[in-house]
């Protein structure tokens, strides 16, 4: 797994509310991990701070774009690549 994926998963892992949840997989849905709307907003902040990027995220409209852990990793990877290009 890429460094970005590992970092993203580490940040998401701090927000997981499901007790004794096994290792987070890219296919896991954020909702199934127990992430509520404020958790998502905090996660976005942590990701922006970690990668020094700006993530266009509006809680009113982007709920479906960030459905799984893999969706988040993909979006962050794109923004990191764009920043480094």
């Amino acid at each position: 797994m890429s460094d970005v994926a590992n970092d993203v998963i580490a940040i998401i892992a701090k927000k997981v509310r499901v007790p004794n949840h096994p290792k987070i997989e890219l296919s896991d849905r954020l909702e199934d991990l127990g992430l509520e709307s404020l958790d998502a907003v905090e996660m976005i902040f942590d990701l922006e701070e970690k990668f020094d990027i700006q993530i266009p995220y509006n809680a009113n409209t982007t709920r479906t774009e960030f459905d799984t852990v893999g969706d988040v990793v993909g979006a962050i990877q794109k923004l990191v690549d764009k920043k480094n290009s």
């Binding site: 509520e36 709307s37 404020l38 907003v41 976005i44 902040f45 700006q54 995220y57 509006n58 809680a59 009113n60 409209t61 709920r63």
Partner: protein, 404 residues
């Protein structure tokens, strides 16, 4: 118990600097949105659109020597209070002034002063701040300044419950006049926090629409921040009649509740209980209501949840209600929103006009009621509700009734 009537209104809003201009703009469906100018370095902000009070010149209203003591939030509060008191025709002599309450809602108080102060010390590395920074920024400043400028010597304080502040303030004032605890009340709300730091805070919440606030509509993208002040003068019906005052409308009910649940997510139960309590307080049944000035922030969550709460409280009658969000025109004035909206509600009752929800594109399946889309509606309104639901799960609802 006194019947309580409104005999004066004042407003300083993105649609004009007095209550008549504000109500006229609401009826015509005018948008008060525009680019941010009040924040320092607005070019650094991601958010570009807010609802500002445009062209407010404090020197038209205050002596230059008074201004060092007045944050914008107090300036607009005083201007609105002066207008409301002037319209009421009440002269507050000493004996009346000691029995008059001044209860004002504000979410955060003098944020412009706080922002300027922090910018000076943290960004510009200045060693000192303006000497009156603290009394300018204190959250009670709008109530204190109205009491000082208008000579009100009775109970005076600010109520802070975020987006429900002004509704809680007006509700308390209503109950105090109804019970006879005070003779009159000057009450409402003021908010002016379109500053760099506050906008950064709202950006981080991820709830703002990029450009347009379209409450209850398909395709809505969130709320927009506004600012403003609105003030109502309340007094007992018998007192108003005895002095031949022009009675604008009656306030008949006030209800409150706390969700005791999520910090920011709205809650059907909490919203419903506040509306039911307000109707019980008024001695009215749901079928008596024709118009609801909704909280209607334009966020996905609020509008859907508020719709469900309206279904719960009103049952089949929900489909007969005219419901609108004036935030579509003036943005969300936070701690002042409930006062701006109560002025709109009182005028709706008096004139028999439901103001529209503008920028409405079409029905969202989750918001399936009549939101008075885009154009104001002439209709008989005997009873109307004004809803306010705050972050922190604090809910407050007022009931206005046509005076006859």
């Amino acid at each position: 118990m006194n019947r309580v009537v409104v005999t004066g209104l004042g407003a300083v809003t993105p649609l004009g600097h007095n209550a008549a201009a504000y109500w006229d703009g609401l009826q015509r469906g005018v948008s008060g949105l525009g680019p941010i100018t009040l924040s320092a370095t607005p070019e650094e902000l991601t958010q570009k659109v807010v609802a500002e009070i445009k062209g407010f010149d404090p020197l038209k209203h205050f002596d230059e020597r008074e201004l060092p003591t007045l944050d914008r939030v107090s300036q607009i509060a005083i201007v609105a209070a002066r207008e409301a008191i002037a319209q009421s025709g009440i002269v507050f002599d000493l004996s009346l002034s000691v029995r008059t309450a001044c209860i004002i809602g504000s979410g955060v108080g003098g944020m412009t002063t706080l922002d300027d102060t922090y910018r000076r010390v943290y960004r510009d590395n200045k060693k000192r701040v303006y000497p009156l920074s603290i009394p300018r920024l204190m959250v009670n400043a709008p109530a204190s300044q109205i009491s000082m400028h208008c000579g009100l010597r009775g109970p005076a304080f600010v109520v802070a419950s975020a987006c429900a502040s002004a509704t809680h303030a007006i509700g308390l004032a209503f109950h105090m006049v109804r019970s006879g605890a005070v003779e009159c009340a000057v009450t409402g709300g003021s908010e002016a926090c379109i500053t760099f730091g506050t906008m950064r805070g709202w950006e981080a919440m991820r709830v703002m629409a990029p450009e347009v606030c379209r409450p209850f509509s398909i395709g809505r993208e969130g709320m927009l921040i506004g600012e403003g002040a609105a003030v109502l003068v309340l007094e007992p019906l018998e007192r108003a009649k005895a002095r031949g005052a022009d009675i604008i409308a009656e306030i008949v009910g006030f209800g409150m509740s706390a969700d005791a649940g999520d910090l920011t997510a709205p809650d059907v139960e909490g919203m419903s209980r506040a509306m039911q309590w307000a109707l019980e307080d008024a001695g009215l049944s749901p079928q008596d209501v024709q118009y609801v000035n909704a909280h209607g922030t334009g966020t996905a969550a609020n509008d859907e949840t508020e719709t469900r709460a309206l279904h719960k409280v009103f049952g089949n009658h929900a489909r007969s209600l005219a419901i609108s969000s004036t935030k579509s025109m003036v943005g969300h004035a936070l701690g002042a929103a409930g006062a701006l909206e109560m002025v709109a509600t009182v005028m709706a009752v008096r004139d028999g006009v439901a103001p529209p929800t503008i920028a409405y594109l079409g029905p969202d399946p989750a918001c399936d009621l009549d939101y008075v889309p885009n154009v104001a509606r002439k209709m008989d309104i005997d009873v109307a509700l004004s809803n306010s639901f705050a972050f922190g799960g604090l809910n407050a609802v007022l009931v206005a009734k046509k005076y006859s």
